[in-house]
Amino acid sequence: MSNINCALRTFLLVFFTAFLLACALVAHAASLAAPDADAVLKKADTYRNGWPSYVLHVKITNFESDKADEEKLYEVSQKGTEKTYVEFMSPREKGEHLLMLGDDMWVYLPDTSRPVRITPLERLSGDASNGDVARTNYAADYTPVYVRTEKVGAVDCYVLDLTAKRKGATYQRILFWVRVEDARPVRAEFYLTSGKHIKSATFDEYMAISGRTQLRRMTLYDEIRHNSHSVLEYSGIAPRELPDKLFYQGRTDRF
């Protein structure tokens, strides 16, 4: 009898352990089930677009072979997902500004004294392109598809495959890693129409502003020239009431 009891107890113990393991696996699998990619992307965008209408400063430091060789400053005013106005503040670019209205884009150069229409390909120039500064609302520009869940370092991340859905999108495709826990952007890979992997990004540091978590620093790595990267630092983020006429393409009275 004692042998039977012993066997029964062992069986129950094994069964109970297996049941617990199964429950844990099911719970874990449930936690890793395919998320709503649109909702995740919209949530991820809030870390760079905390308010419907806001201003911020961006400092871009370009590095060559890990040595800082150039610094640029921008003041960005954004209203909704369609209107962005960027004022160039660094000495060499003072007086220049950039306007994005949906898919249309103009750059104002002091030497031409008029707004010059620019093509989507022109917005790709530079280590950190115009689009990297002015076009940060991915949900408006890309269609997301959930690919898988994987770890980046110790962090569980959703991997989203973003495909451009409009002409104004800076890149044709983005692979986007966001934290499972709160959809916070972790890293990204950017691709051209040709399929060429042109840049990668890491979203390095966040800060709390008025109870909202906002991106403070990200790094863009040039995947064509591997010894080059750019650090984008965000500061001065604040909600603002911005008048519509700030975003009118014909105005030339900006400094």
Binding site: P91, R92, R117, L121, E122, M207, S235, K245, T252, F255
Partner: protein, 364 residues
């Protein structure tokens, strides 16, 4: 080159900037300031060397330029701005002057903006030419970007009404303060601008006192990822037409082409063109790339080349530009201009066989 004076100016300006630099406080919303002050300072030392001069002037022109620009805004309504150029030109003697490029006051009230003073206003969409040059400073096809920033604005009163994608502008410009050699008249001009289906379109009308009324249309449109098209049509005694396009390659090389045909009337005529000549036809072709990032060590370099041709007399001017950035404030450049054609032709009558400009630019 007046390097001593230039170095003193640059050192003083750099010290001012270092004193003004402050890091913003992190992690706190920045309160909006009522006052906003912006400035920039450009200093250029330019030397131009002429080859095979056909007129008795020195072969070297040295220009030292200092260009401060200041803007003060008291938000959300008031603004004051000025942009000056101090020049010291040395041929055989030194000649100095100060030009007021812009100096104006602005008032913003709701959907309306008002402005009074001297202002550079460009309504044309062409790069090298313009058919709708109403209030624009003179457009010189061989110097489309005004490389030394010497253009001056017109003295005017201007009112803008901006609502959604629509904008109406009324301007009245006086020629009273302009030099008589400029040949300007008092001008009244009106523009309606709208962005519709990707077309940035303007209708322009106006009247030069003592001259004919005129009207015009301009547009720009981006097509796909790489193409931009633009055009202008104007009627001033006869029609003037400009058609242009820009193409950007995936490697960042930009090509611009423009065709322009103005009537041979005094308003459009270049001084080298005979009044008896027929309507003129011009072509502008440009190729350039900023930042040659693909080549190690070349990313500070911008290169460009363009040609302006008169198709009637088959004369042209070819131009090559190279610009190299040094640090955050300095750059050096080379500008080479080679005219060609018969001695009586539009560009062939240029009194030198080549002009080479080299210079250093400081920006703060």
């Amino acid at each position: 080159m007046k390097s001593g004076l230039l170095i003193s100016i640059l050192l003083a300006a750099t010290c001012c900037q270092l004193a003004a630099q402050e890091d913003p406080a992190p992690d706190a919303p920045t309160p909006e300031s009522r006052q906003d002050f912006r400035y920039s300072i450009n200093a250029i030392d330019d030397a131009t060397f002429y080859s095979s001069l056909q007129v008795p002037i020195p072969t070297t022109l040295n220009q030292l330029l200092l260009q401060p620009t200041l803007t003060y805004r008291y938000k959300p309504r008031w603004s004051l701005a000025t942009s000056l150029v101090g020049m010291a030109d040395t041929y055989s003697d030194t000649f100095t002057q100060v030009r007021v490029k812009e100096a104006y006051a602005g008032l913003s009230a709701g959907d309306f903006d008002f402005m009074v003073g001297r202002r550079i206003v460009r309504w044309g969409t062409g790069y090298a030419f313009t058919a709708t040059c109403v209030l624009d400073p003179p457009r010189i096809p061989t110097n489309p970007t005004d490389r030394l920033n010497l253009n001056e604005g017109r003295d005017m009163i201007k009112a803008d009404y901006v609502h959604g994608p629509h904008a109406l502008t009324m301007a009245w410009s006086t020629a009273a303060l302009a030099p008589s050699a400029a040949g300007l008249h008092d001008t009244t001009a009106f523009r309606y601008n709208v962005l519709v289906h990707g077309f940035d379109t303007s209708l322009i009308a106006g009247d030069d006192r003592g001259g004919d009324a005129f009207g015009g249309l301009t547009f720009t449109r981006v097509i796909g990822q790489a193409w931009e098209i633009h055009g202008e049509a104007a009627w001033r005694e006869h029609e003037a037409i400009l058609m242009g396009a820009k193409y950007t390659t995936p490697h960042g090389v930009t090509f611009i082409g423009e065709y322009f045909t103005p009537p041979n009337i005094p308003y459009y005529r270049d001084m080298s063109i005979s009044p008896l000549a027929p309507r003129q036809h011009y072509l502008f072709l440009d190729a350039g790339k900023n930042r040659l990032r693909e080549r190690p060590g070349w990313k500070e370099l911008d290169l460009g080349a363009y040609v302006v041709a008169n198709l009637n007399d088959r004369s042209f001017t070819a131009i090559f530009d190279a610009n190299r950035r040094i640090g955050s404030h300095f750059s050096t450049y080379l500008h080479l201009e080679i005219p060609a054609g018969k001695p009586t032709s539009d560009y062939g009558s240029t009194p030198y066989s080549a002009a080479t400009s080299v210079g250093i630019r400081f920006q703060l």
